[in-house]
Amino acid sequence: MRVPLRWLKEYVDISLSAEELAARLTMSGTEVSGILRIGIDWDRVVIGQVESIDRHENADNLFVARVRLGTETITLVTAASNLKTGDVAPVVRAGGRLGGPVLEPRRFRGVLSEGMLCSGDELGVSPDKESIYILEPSAPIGADLREFLGDEVLDIELTPNRPDCLGVVGIAREVAALTGGQLRVPRPSPPAGDVPATEVVRVFVDDPDLCPRYTAAYLEGVRVGPSPPWLQRRLYLAGMRPINNVVDVTNYVMLELGQPLHAFDADLLRNATIRVRRAKKGERLTTIDGTARELLEDVLVIADADAPTAIAGVMGGADSEISDSTTNIVLESATFDRLSVRRTSRDLRLSSEASKRFDKGLDPELPPLASHQAVGLMLELAGGRAATGLVDVRQPARPPRRIRFTPRDVSSLIGQTYSSKEIEEVLRPLGFQLEPSDDGVEATVPSWRMDVEGKADIAEEVARIKGYDAIPSVLPSGNLPAAAENAILRWEEILRSALAAAGLQEVITYALVDPHAEAKLDPDAGDRLLPNLASIPTSNPMSVEHSQLRTSLLPSLFATVGANLRYQQRVSIFEIARVYLPPLDPLPTERRRLAIAMAGQRYPESWSANQAPVDFYDLKATVEAALNTLNLSCRTTPTRKTQWAHSGRAAAVELDPGGVVVGLVGQVHPRVAQRFDVEGVDLYAADLDVDMLLAQAHEERTIRPLPRYPAVDRDLALIVPDQVSYADLAAAIGSAAGPLLDHFRLFDVYRGAPVPEGHRSLAVSLAFRSPDRTLSEDEVVSAMEAIEREVARQFGAKVRGR
């Protein structure tokens, strides 16, 4: 909302500068997001009166005006054609400026212009760019225009709990409470005429649930015409366009008091009847924006005896709109149910200054006040006669809310002590009535403060007006909750760190994905991908690409790899995030998963690295290292049961011991990789159930003492057929070696001559050791022979070179 300071000062004394006032308002919850300054950069802009205006002798489209500026009179050349002798208008004198460059005296076809006349748009006080701005005749000739017209407009962003501040008077109350400035709230009297309004207009409220109060005033014999300049300026500075005096008054009073009003041409209402009712099936209405609208059955309308003539609280109808020929007026000032207005406004995609106020909830005590204020202004500006009083159809008034509290209630919530006097200084200007009660104070909440419900609200009023900065900062001294730790979250962070330490970059990708994203993981899907019906869609997606809750992290990670390979030789990434699995019961199952994707070079780019592309064993080492930090070990068991993987390069990850399958590792099928723009390099991925891993994570790890006796090292190269897996070979070595084998590791895998076709050589380095003595050569030889016999028996393995 935009609040011109000159207008605000009508209701409250202000001695602060606009900046100081803006800061105080902002700190107290009424956020001033900007200050528009009208006239701040004007220099030598004065008020002049046209003494004569003539056509330029040498130019058809120019006029020469003699303009009096107090004691002197100057000559001006202008292209605008709206000036008349006697008009009062703003003049920039030569050497002065309107914010832009300094105005030089200039000759137009032989006539020297000693200044420039200004349009309303140039001054920022009206939208009119074409004509010279005509000031009211009362403007002081020769005076500095800034003194007369300059203003500062506060741009205020209100929170939805304060519809009472949607009028200048509401802001004035805040200012009075904040500064102690004297408050002057308008208290207009009901119109007094010859006939009671109730005899001229009939009002029926058929649906009082949606319209707690409807008032109608009546004026006859008004003359519709333009509003005076001061009124037009205020409307414009507050962000509305002037229309005509009647409509302008309704808008003016709305901006002043926060109560929307609507004026009907009384002669266009059949039977002088207002009927507030829900629309009937098939009814239509053309609103004043010129749009013909079909009305849904539960939309609240203002109808005459026959048909809708306005959408209640949202917009009036074109048929009964005020026009230049209007003479008699029915003035509506009503309270509509905020939910009804909100739904109607949303369903019709039609929002107005009125609907924006009604849908926050307005004070049912406000309509008569606003009506009286508007009737008074209309009589002043448009003439005519008003009927006496109002037609007022209302639900029983709700009793005012009363809140009992003590200063202690305030201080115990705020942590700062306020005296009764301080509390009173805050609450009275805001409209609260205070009475002493048994053990404290009883505050009667003003009808417009529907947000104030209890003691906490009273405490906020005191704290915010006195300033939050006055409240001390202390660290809580109370009890701490029992020490507890979320072990799952702790392990999750340990896992993250381990993956980063293993050389992977963490990414965070969107949880909403394209319905087809997961079908891309199927190598056999073909070109026409099917949407994933087993995932949960959002009912109002912003785009198809982000419309469905994902059930796998892999598509997002693969797309990230593809995008980054355009700039990087090496993309090794992971994400730990949730997937969302149907059915809804009432919520889906959210499971944490870990996805890893690796492609491109093994090492960061460097001048010295021995580069090679990543492969399965890089991925496997990463997974093993990550599990190791959770004190878990795993086996990789070849599997063909994966949707997305290369048929010969995919393995289930099984916890060891236990054998629980926690996920898959493997090379991504090239057709799948290609769908994510990963081409020319192999893509490797892992997809693991993190909830399973974290549930198994533990801290038990027994550390062995350092050995006291030396190990005897032996190397053994075994030639085995290709189909023998290392895992099987290793298991055989381990069981055949007996207790003296301390550990062994694979150090070479070789294929090619002299190893026969279809075979490979697997070379292991074995370390034998006894905990209590130095081993003899015989003991080691016999263990080695046992190994050789066993692998020969199981796999036909031959010792290489023998």
Partner: protein
Amino acid sequence: MLLATIDETLRVLAERALSELEKARDPGALESWRTAYLGRRGALAEHMRAIVQLEPEARPAAGQAANAAKARLESAFDARQRRIEELTLDRRLESERIDLTLPGRPLHTGGLHPITLTLRRIVEIFRDMGFQVAEGPEVELDWYNFEALNIPPEHPARDMVDTFYVNPPSVLLRTHTSPVQIRVMEQAKPPIRVLVPGRCYRYEAQDASHEWMFYQVEGLAVDEGLTMADLKGVLVAFAQRMFWPEVQCRFRCDYFPFVEPGVEMSVQCPICRGSGCRVCKMSGWIELLGAGMVHPQVLRNVDYDPDRVHGFAFGMGPERITMVKHAIDDIRLFYGNDLRFLQQFH
């Protein structure tokens, strides 16, 4: 041979030996010298044998002189040998010069996402103040996300956040981590101090300062006797550790339906430290988080007695904190996952 002659011969021999020793420049030459003078068949040994030829009374003096000369030559040899070792090492080191300005070999390390790093820092700071980490579902019931937080259907505050809905519409993607307040309070009794990091979703068009998916960290404390002064104290302590120890904080009134009174905290801009810059739009201040005392209705919704216990709550965005700390001007960089951005946080 006369004693005088033999002395003279020794003197000449020693002088020649010393002068030749000076010319030895490498271990080979040094060894030749040692053979020639100190070896078993060397000049000094030969001289010793000549002494045997002297009359018996002259032998002790000549022998003494010869031993002294031998000791002198041996000590000169040791000195020369040390010197040559030094020179040899010097020459080797000189030949081993490298280009010290070549870049270091890149480590094979990865890194955490900047939001993870910020979340960890936030969690660490609040953990020191007794807050324990909790979590809740991202797909949430309307009751927890709105109603229990004092935001009934059609409440104007629902206009403040646009929501992604699932079918049925009572299920939605949480728009903040505040619903976990309710879930925590349903499960536990005061005193409560929890911190809830997590993903949230809002139906918002993306631009440089808006994302439809983002993280939030919610804090909640409930206890007897808690006040807004405690809330301020906790948040100031947080800002002083998150930013710098002298950072100034500003608290103003704001509105969130689930707190009363409501608070918005700003801190001095960490980039310009309050003097005004691009990041703080010349204001010197950064709006950092929303907070307040837990609304009595929210406490009643979980069967707490608002006359007996008070609570405070706050919610902050790690994206915003990361952006102001590192002068990042586009929030979309976080979930765009361009490694050229992410790797700058290593």
